[in-house]
Symmetry: C2
Subunit: 336 residues, 2 copies
């Protein structure tokens, strides 16, 4: 396997002592330039692997975490990734980042690479885990944590908000403002947290406040701006337009607001819109968008901290870590 | 160094042939479950490093690229990173991602990690390269490419647009619409491309069209939304407000637009605004923002393709790769 190159081979080839090789490898000062050059040349000639890789082999420590993101261009995911990166870095861990764009084949390929690169832990930020991937992950014997999402399978730990309660609270907020015709732009119903749970929260809030559920006021999108825009367009064609819209992602809320504006109507004068996530975009558009916020920064921190505990050998439980949600009132909702 | 564990040691400990170990390592089917377990146990006991790392040591191929990003939460950088990731993945390369947030110490730390992890190439997306970092990079003997930025130092290759010409064209567009009071929200003047070159383009376009340069109409920000907002606020306090504003990043343009709207004025009715970059944000806000676009997707592709050529041994020249810029006319500028 060619793995037999040792420090003494390097020393021999360079014509120096093994101590000198060590000193060069450790980057110590006061090693003569000429000796350094000889050692480095020998290392190159022999393909010797110093420091990190060698240490990894011995200690089984690579200080690498693998991260699977569904969409790097989304403000939500790039913000949580930024927080994950910062927390990892301050714990001396580095990230291998994979952007799968919902491509299952790519996910398999990357999980294999994570295995080969000996990542110490894996963070996954999408919840469409099929049977094959679940089995594969379980065989890896590498700690895995889900961040912001929860797969159907209960055997993994997720760092999430209580999506049901958050959606319930968002809907109740609109009801409290006097709205009864509340449209819902949901997520993918194959997703437990962002799809099913947020939908249930919406339905039960209506029911608990004696508001009739209207099937025509419910549509499901893909969390992205364009789908919020398109689905809002359908609502605007109704004779009895909704007076408020709850979109389960800020991106879809922005799409809905743009659609309303582009039809010559005003937010919140004509229609109120509330989003979900707490993406920084909500502050950048006009009107600024009221949103049920997840603590994105904190979510990234807790994800890494918990994963590092697993890596350190702490026993994994199947209990999720639930962070608090928070309503951020901005300018896109008004009382009726 | 503990590096002497070989495949035959694993075979001996597991009580199987080296062929069986190989078959297990290569994930072949039809290996008895019990043999697999014994081999895996032996691998674990001995700390043997199969496949990727071992092959890396031999072939000096890690298929890793290191990427240094200044700000993962910026729409511009997350989009170019997404493109880099896709192009790398389709060439069987994986990314180690470092978000430095302009922290030079962090950059040094990461460059060291890149070295230890034996990345085959490095992509850097900020241009504040000081003498120490330049020397460090040169000693690494790892191919380096700059993407979307150009450091002062001419010895590195950059994939960029012609920032001078792009800024010249953006300014000329406003002049063509009849504007003469054109404010400029520039970047960091320590940055050659996004700072100095875009400023020169603005100044020379004014000069070539016989428009007097007004010092009060020039401010410099940090490319982010908040600085565009704050600097626009200064222009709005003038008795003779500008009729148009050129901001050298879309984020600053969005900040400027928001500031104008928040002061009860309209874009483009009262003031026209043009941005720079081609970030997807320009489509998501209302009014949609006219922008001098860089080909962000293509920039990511060309960056990786060029770096892989360097890795493959192609001789590096000091010539930059200049991609075309393009004016995307949207709704934020009007003729006077």
């Amino acid at each position: 396997m060619g793995m037999s190159v040792k420090i003494k081979d390097v020393a021999k080839r360079a014509g120096v002592s093994t101590t000198t090789v060590s000193r060069v490898l450790n980057g110590e000062k006061y090693v003569r330039e000429e000796l350094k050059d000889r050692v480095n040349q020998a290392i190159e000639d022999l393909g010797y692997a110093p420091s990190h890789i060698a240490r990894s082999l011995v200690r089984n420590k690579t200080n690498l975490l693998g991260v699977i993101v569904p969409d790097l261009t989304s403000s939500f995911y790039s913000t949580i990734l930024s927080s994950i990166e910062q927390t990892a870095a301050s714990n001396h861990y580095n990230l291998l980042v994979c952007n799968i764009s919902e491509d299952i084949d790519k996910e398999f390929k990357y999980l294999n690479i994570f295995k080969e690169m000996r990542v110490e832990g894996i963070i996954i930020m999408h919840e469409k885990i099929n049977e094959d991937i679940r089995n594969f992950i379980e065989k890896l014997k590498i700690p895995v944590i889900f961040s912001s999402v929860k797969p159907m399978d209960q055997s993994f730990v997720s760092v999430i908000v209580d999506d049901y309660a958050a959606a319930y609270d968002a809907t109740t907020y609109l009801i409290g403002l006097g709205h009864k015709q509340i449209a819902f732009i949901g997520g993918d119903m194959r997703d437990m947290t962002s799809g099913q749970n947020r939908y249930s929260g919406y339905r039960n809030a209506l029911a608990d406040h004696g508001i009739k559920f209207v099937h025509e006021l419910v549509r499901f999108g893909d969390y992205k701006v364009n789908s919020g825009y398109a689905l809002m367009g359908e609502f605007l064609r109704y004779k009895h337009k909704p007076t408020a819209v709850f979109a389960v992602s800020d991106d879809m809320a922005i799409g809905a607001v743009n659609c309303i504006i582009d039809h010559g109507l005003k937010v919140p004068d004509d229609i109120s819109v509330i989003g979900f996530d707490g993406s920084q975009m909500t502050e950048l558009v006009r009107p600024r968008i009221t949103s049920m916020e997840q603590p994105i920064q904190r979510m990234g921190e807790v994800t890494v901290e918990t994963l590092l505990q697993f890596i350190a050998g702490e026993k994994r439980t199947a209990e999720d870590i639930i962070l608090g949600h928070r309503l951020a009132v901005r300018d896109s909702c008004r009382p009726l």
